[in-house]
């Protein structure tokens, strides 16, 4: 082997072979890393019956009954859309199994009577006993007299990424 070829082989091993060994190490190490639980997908919301939901400030919550929630996840960050309405969007986070989101809403005529900012707050937990079930509450921001309303949401469309695992 000529000295040029020897130098080429040495450089190739150093600059290509060694990094590839590093890649193998990274892939091995990475298997132990835990990513946030996936909540991506379409969920169906069921609000528990409550006499308080007849209050004007809470009409927006009752309007969400049976609506579909689309959750788009990027790590811990969540982008949530209610019923395909572009005005009903929320940004939230997931910490372990707990999910929180602030929902921006366009106040309806009934809600205009309320002295609130029209926004809602969602707090939920992934049910440890059942797969694809969220249990939590929806509350009206800035309305101390409005009690939080309980809800349950079930994952409707299986997340393709979850299948791809």
């Amino acid at each position: 082997m000529s000295s040029v070829n020897e130098r080429f082989v040495a450089a190739y091993l150093l600059l290509v072979g060694l990094p590839l060994l590093g890649l193998a190490g990274v892939l091995r190490t990475g298997r132990t890393i835990v990513a946030p639980i996936s909540v991506n997908g379409m969920w169906k919301l069921e609000i528990e019956n409550s006499p308080l939901t007849s209050q004007p400030c809470q009409t927006v919550i009752t309007s969400l009954q049976h609506s579909a929630i689309a959750i788009s996840q990027s790590g811990r960050q969540l982008a949530i859309n209610f019923g395909g309405d572009s005005r009903m969007t929320a940004s939230g986070t997931i910490n372990d199994r707990d999910l929180t989101a602030d929902i921006a809403t366009a106040p309806s005529a009934a809600e205009a009577q309320c002295a609130t900012d029209g926004g809602l707050r969602l707090a939920a937990t992934l049910d440890p006993k059942a797969t694809g079930v969220l249990i939590g509450t929806l509350s009206v921001n800035g309305c101390p007299s409005c009690s939080p309303v309980k809800f349950r949401a079930e994952l409707q469309t299986a997340n393709p990424r979850r299948q791809a695992r």
């Binding site: 600059l15 290509v16 990027s74 790590g75 395909g84 572009s86 791809a164």
Partner: protein, 432 residues
């Protein structure tokens, strides 16, 4: 049925904006295609959807996006065929050891750095429905790609396609893209196979068999096109239609095999005969409609999926900055170091690294595949689009700074000049 009025209106608006922004970018010495990529982002939720949400919903109702996506995908299928057509791996052989080393390092360096970055980003921007291996491999493939057509366009505009820098860059980019697409095909096959009932070995066997048939069987058939062209100086409409049919058939085969439509189209282009005049002739026939009309639709569709608004807060922007940094260090730094060690003068080596760092619309194609197979999240998609725009945008000014035109070393006349490339001009600017 699509709402025809909405669809035609969308196409008109997209084409108009792409022309305007592309022309503006030409004024600042950027390739038109960079402006068109940017125009796509402007039409999405990052700008139009943010400042005029009602108009955005009127112009791009969610029910219409399927048709826009289908049209743009057809454009990308033809585009990938043309990219494959312009690639000739044999060019690497004529460049010797230096180009082989540079080419391979320009893949491994960004790939490995991206996988290290994946260790940090996986728990922050992904979720447990994606395995770390798929995430890291995808990040590696996405960061190691080079925008072959954009690179060729920049070199053409500098009249440097036949310079030493140009020939090495084209050869390295060709190998990078072939390797990158092979890795990506593997990742997509892996992800889709995990989700399907048929075993992985069956899929892989099918893919290998398809590759063998294409390379050793269909390739011989394709020589017939070149023979007819040599004899008559042109190909009949029927032959052109047959060629397009072969491209679509190959695309359908790879889709059915569980990889992606685009791989078949790319492979068909890569195994086409590489005689210069023949390549130029085929490019001229397909290029105009693809580059002028269909690619802007793809840019707009990508823009509609890109939401810069998802990068909320300092934390998300720092991830984005980190992605740009790692992509640049890996690709620019890796290519530069390897070519310098292989004997290229430092300035020229830096120029080569800068060219290789241009990712352009090839990156957008890969990112869209990643988002489709859900291996990357919407926020990471947006960050990677920003990275693609930044690394492509920085190429021309950095190259002018590092490697002025007079510094380009011309290749000896005996060397083969690279194949004709997609001009990506879609304007009246004559190709060099």
């Amino acid at each position: 049925m699509p709402n025809l009025f909405t669809l035609v209106l969308q196409i008109a608006v997209i084409l108009a904006l792409c022309r305007v922004v592309g022309s503006l970018f030409r004024l600042i010495h950027q390739p038109r295609v960079v402006g068109e990529m940017f125009a796509g982002i402007l039409l999405g939720p990052s700008l139009l959807g943010w400042v005029a949400p009602s108009f955005s919903t009127y112009l791009f109702p969610s029910s219409s996006l399927g048709f826009l996506s289908a049209l743009s995908q057809v454009g990308v299928v033809v585009f990938m065929f043309l990219v494959g057509l312009g690639i000739n791996p044999k060019e690497l052989k004529s460049q010797g050891h230096a180009a082989v080393l540079t080419s391979h390092v320009s893949i491994t360096a960004p790939f490995v750095l991206a996988s290290f970055l994946a260790l940090y980003l996986y728990p922050r921007l992904s979720d447990d429905s994606v395995s770390f291996t798929n995430f890291a491999l995808f990040m590696g493939a996405a960061m190691s790609i080079t925008a072959f057509p954009v690179l060729a366009r920049i070199l053409t505009e500098r009249n440097a396609l036949s310079s030493r820098l140009g020939t090495v860059a084209i050869a390295c980019a060709a190998v990078d893209d072939i390797t990158g697409w092979c890795i990506l095909a593997y990742i997509v096959a892996l992800i889709r196979a995990e989700a399907s009932s048929s075993p992985m070995w069956m899929k892989l066997s099918g893919i290998v068999l398809f590759g063998v048939i294409m390379i050793f069987g269909v390739r011989r058939l394709l020589r017939g096109f070149e023979a007819v062209y040599r004899k008559r100086g042109a190909l009949s409409e029927s032959l052109m239609a047959f060629m397009l049919l072969l491209v679509l058939s190959a695309a359908l085969c790879t889709e059915a095999l569980g990889i992606h439509l685009l791989f078949g189209a790319f492979l068909m282009g890569a195994i086409m005969p590489k005689e210069h005049h023949f390549v130029r002739y085929v490019l001229d026939r397909f290029e105009t409609v693809t580059v002028t009309m269909l690619l802007p639709l793809f840019f707009a569709f990508t823009g509609l999926r890109t939401n810069i608004g998802l990068l909320r807060g300092q934390e998300m922007w720092s991830y984005c900055g980190l992605i740009v940094l790692v992509a640049t260090v890996g690709k620019l730094g890796g290519s530069m170091l390897a070519s310098w060690l292989a004997g290229m003068p430092l300035r020229e080596a830096a120029g080569l690294g800068t060219l290789m760092n241009s990712r352009g619309l090839m990156e957008l194609v890969i990112l869209n595949i990643g988002l489709d197979v859900k291996v990357i999240s919407p926020a990471l998609f947006s960050m990677m689009v920003v990275m693609a725009l930044v690394t492509t945008f920085m190429t021309t000014p950095l190259l002018r700074l590092i490697c002025p035109l007079e510094a380009s070393v011309k290749e000896p006349a005996a060397r083969d000049v690279p194949l004709p490339q997609l001009s990506l001009k879609s304007s009246n600017t004559p190709a060099a």
